[in-house]
Symmetry: C2
Subunit: 481 residues, 2 copies
Amino acid sequence: MALPTVPLGRYHRRMTAAVKLRPSQSALDGAVAELRLLLGERLSTGLAQREQHGRGEAYHETAAPDAVAWPQSTAEVGEIVRICARHAVPMVPFGAGTSLEGHVAALQGGVSIDLTRMNRILAVRPADLDATVEPGVTRKQLNAQVKDSGLFFAVDPGADATLGGMAATRASGTNAVRYGTMRENVLALGVVLADGSLIRTGGRARKSAAGYDLTRLFVGSEGTLGIIVEATVRLHGLPEAVSAAVASFPSVEAAVETVILTIQSGIPVARIELLDPVQMMAINRHAKFDYAEQPTLFFEFHGSEAGVVEQVERVKAIAADFGAGDFRWATRAEDRSRLWQARHDAYYAALALRPGAKAWATDVCVPISRLAECIAATVADIRAETLLAPIVGHVGDGNFHVTFILDPNDKQERAAAERVNEGMVARALAMDGTCTGEHGIGAGKLDNLIAEHGEGVEVMRRIKATLDPLNLMNPGKIFRA
Amino acid sequence: MALPTVPLGRYHRRMTAAVKLRPSQSALDGAVAELRLLLGERLSTGLAQREQHGRGEAYHETAAPDAVAWPQSTAEVGEIVRICARHAVPMVPFGAGTSLEGHVAALQGGVSIDLTRMNRILAVRPADLDATVEPGVTRKQLNAQVKDSGLFFAVDPGADATLGGMAATRASGTNAVRYGTMRENVLALGVVLADGSLIRTGGRARKSAAGYDLTRLFVGSEGTLGIIVEATVRLHGLPEAVSAAVASFPSVEAAVETVILTIQSGIPVARIELLDPVQMMAINRHAKFDYAEQPTLFFEFHGSEAGVVEQVERVKAIAADFGAGDFRWATRAEDRSRLWQARHDAYYAALALRPGAKAWATDVCVPISRLAECIAATVADIRAETLLAPIVGHVGDGNFHVTFILDPNDKQERAAAERVNEGMVARALAMDGTCTGEHGIGAGKLDNLIAEHGEGVEVMRRIKATLDPLNLMNPGKIFRA
C-alpha cells in the first residue's frame, strides 16, 4: 500500500489562497460595531490613535489599523478575538510600541489590540523567585515593585517595553549574557488563541518534560499564533555587590578579543557591551560625557563582594593584554545608572547626530569566535558606502547592532544601507549565525528568515496555518502574507 | 512473512484501540522488503533484537517492533522514513534504551530505528564552547572527547544516554540547577520529518529572534514529530575548582529548607541532591558506604578556588541552621566519582533491596517553596500504603523521584503504587508544578498531561497532526492514539 506523503508547501498555498488581503468594509463595519458595544470608549477609530498604533519605532513601512481596542481583561481579549474572527478581521497586538522590525504595522488593516491597560502585577513570589503579570506591565514597573523584596527582573532591552511584547518578540538586551533572554526567563504564558480560547502553556516548575514546549513556541511568535494575556517570569536576587566600568581599546578587534577570552574563561560577567567610535562620539554629545572616542567596552559585574573583585581582576588582566586604556569605574548606583542610561540611549544619541534623519536599527548574532571578523567586515562595508551607522553590541552573546542614520528622502542612501544590511546578514548566516539576535523578523526580515531556516520555514508555516487557519493573527509578520 | 507480536500487558489495556491501528501484514512485508534492500544486515526481524528494542528501562509493559533498523547516516534515516511512510508503517526512534516512561515501546508495531551506529562527533569548537554530534553519541563519549580541551557537556541524567535521546526527552539530571536542562543546552538540531525531508532548526548563535523556536519544539517531542539526526550542544569550561560533600539532616523538611535557602540566596551550587533514609540504606548496601541512614544532601560546588570556598562557607552556615550533621568532603576526583556514581546508581541500589522485584520510577517537579510539603505528603502516602519506595531528588530545581520497588506479580502492590503516583501528580499540579520534571510523558503519563495542560494538549495535537498527518512517528506517546 503506497500512501502519498503530504508535500510541505500545500498548507501555505491553501492558506494564502483562502485569505483576502484586507477585510471588506462591511466586515470591518460589523466588527467595529460589535467591538464598540463591548468596549465603549475603549475602542477608537480616530486617525491619530490609529497612526500611532501602526508605527512603533521601526523605520519600516507604517500601516495604521482600522481601529484600536483597549481591553482590560483576558475575557475581553477573548471576546475581541472572537468578534474579529467572526468577521475575518486581522488583529495586531500592541504593547509599548518599541519594536524595531515593523511588528505593529497593520499591513492588512484590522484592529490593533493595545494591551497597556492590562498592567496589573498579579503575584510576586519571592520564595520561588517568580512573578505573574498582565501583558501590559513594563519591565521598569515590575522592577520597581520587586526591588523591596531584594529581587529584580533581568531582561533589559533598553526601552521600557511591556513584558507581553518582550515575550512576543523574544527580547533580550544587555545582561542576557549572564541571565538569559526571554526564552530563559519566561516560565509560562497565558495565550488567547485565534478562536478566542485561552490556554496556559505551563506552571511554575523550573523545568518540565510534559509534552511540547508551548511556552517556547509562543515566546518569539510575534503575535502570529495568539495574543499573550499573562506571563509568569523568573526573578533573580539583587546581587550583593555590583560594579561597572568603561574601558577603551586600540581597535574593535582588541575589544572583541577581550570579550571572547572573558566568555571562554567562564567569567560570569553580567553585561559586556561594545560601542564603536562613532557611537561613543554620539554618546559624548548626547549625554555630555567625555569618553575617548575609541572602541569601548562597558562592563558590569554582579556577585558577592569578593566574587566581584575576583571577576574584575581577571577581566582587567585580559583587557590589559589587548591594550585597554585605564578602566573608569562607576561603583555608586547613580553613576552606574547614568552610565547604562547612556548606553540605553545609544539609539537616540545616534539619531541626534544628524538632525532630520531617521534611524534604521538592524542586528545579527554570530558564534563568538567569528564576532571580530563579522564586525570588521561590516564596518568596512559601512565606510565603503560612506554611511553614518554606529555599531553597538551585546558582544558577550555574539550579538551586535548597526543603526543606520539616514536621510528619509534619499533613496540612494536607503539602498546603500540595504546593501550593507543584506551583506551583514549573509555574512552572519555563512558564519552559522542568525539574521536577528533579538529584534525579530517582523515585516523587515522575511526573506532573511527563509535564507536562514530553509525548509524549517515550511514547518513554521504549517504550525501557523493549523493554529491560525484564517491568517488573522498579525498577518504579514514572520511570513509574507 | 508472518511476524509474531509481543502481546501488550495490563498497563496498556487502555491502548487496545491503538493496537488495531497496526499496519497490515502486507504493508509490513512491503516495508521490510524495501528496508532490507536498503540496509542489508542492518535490518533485523529477530525476536531477541525486537524484544530488546521494545523494552527500554521502563516498568511499563513492553511492545516489540516488527523490525529493527540501524541506519548509519542522515540520508539513510531519510530513506527509512520515506519507505515507512509509503507503507504507513510506524517508526520508533531508539537510542540507549534508558527512557523510563515506555518511550521506545512499539505500541502499534512498526520499525524501531536504532541510532546508535550514528555515533560520530562531527565537530568540537572550543572557542565557541559548542559541539555537533550524531544522535547516537553518548554523553560520556562526548565528555571523554572534550575533556582535553578543558570543556565538559553539562547535562547528566545518570545513565549514559545518547544525546539524541536526551534531546528527544528533554533530559536533565543532577546539575541542571546550575547548567540547565537539554532545553538550555541544545543550540540546534537536525531533524528528519515525517515525509523524510531534513530540516536544521537553527545555527550556532547563542540567541536568535528569527521565527518560531523549532529547536525547543523538537527538544522534548519524544520522537513524535520527527527523528533527531544531529545535535549541536553547548559545552562549558571545566571549573578551576570542584568540591563535593555529603551532609545528613534530622528530617526531610530540614534538608529541603536548606536547599530552598541556598537557591533563594543565589548561591550557584552545581549539584544539590536529596536522598531519603530508604535510599541511603540502599546505597550503603549497594556500594559499601557507611553514611548515616537519614535524610541526606549531596552537594557539588564549581568555581574558582576562592569562589568554591565562599560557596561552601555559605552553604555550611545555612545547613547548620537546619541541624545538619558534619559535612563529609570528597575533594579528590576519584572520591567525587565514587560519590556521584553511588548517586547515579540509586535506581539499581534501590532495586537490589528486594531481589526479584521490578522498579517503577516516576517524577514530579514543583515550585521550590512547596517542595518540602510535597515530599512529606508523598512519604506519608508511601507509608500508608506500606510500599518500598525510596525518594531521590534534584531538589535545587524542585524535582524529585519516587522509585517503587514492586513485586511484578502483585497486582495490589501495583495498584497501591498507582494510587501514590496519581496522588503525587495531582498534588504537584495543585502546587502549580508539573507531572514530570524530566522523565517525560511517554506512554505512562498521557492522562496526567491532559490534567496539566488542558486545552494546551489540543494545541500540541494540532502541531502533531500537521507535522505527522499519518500519525506514524512514535504513535501512542505523549497523546493517546
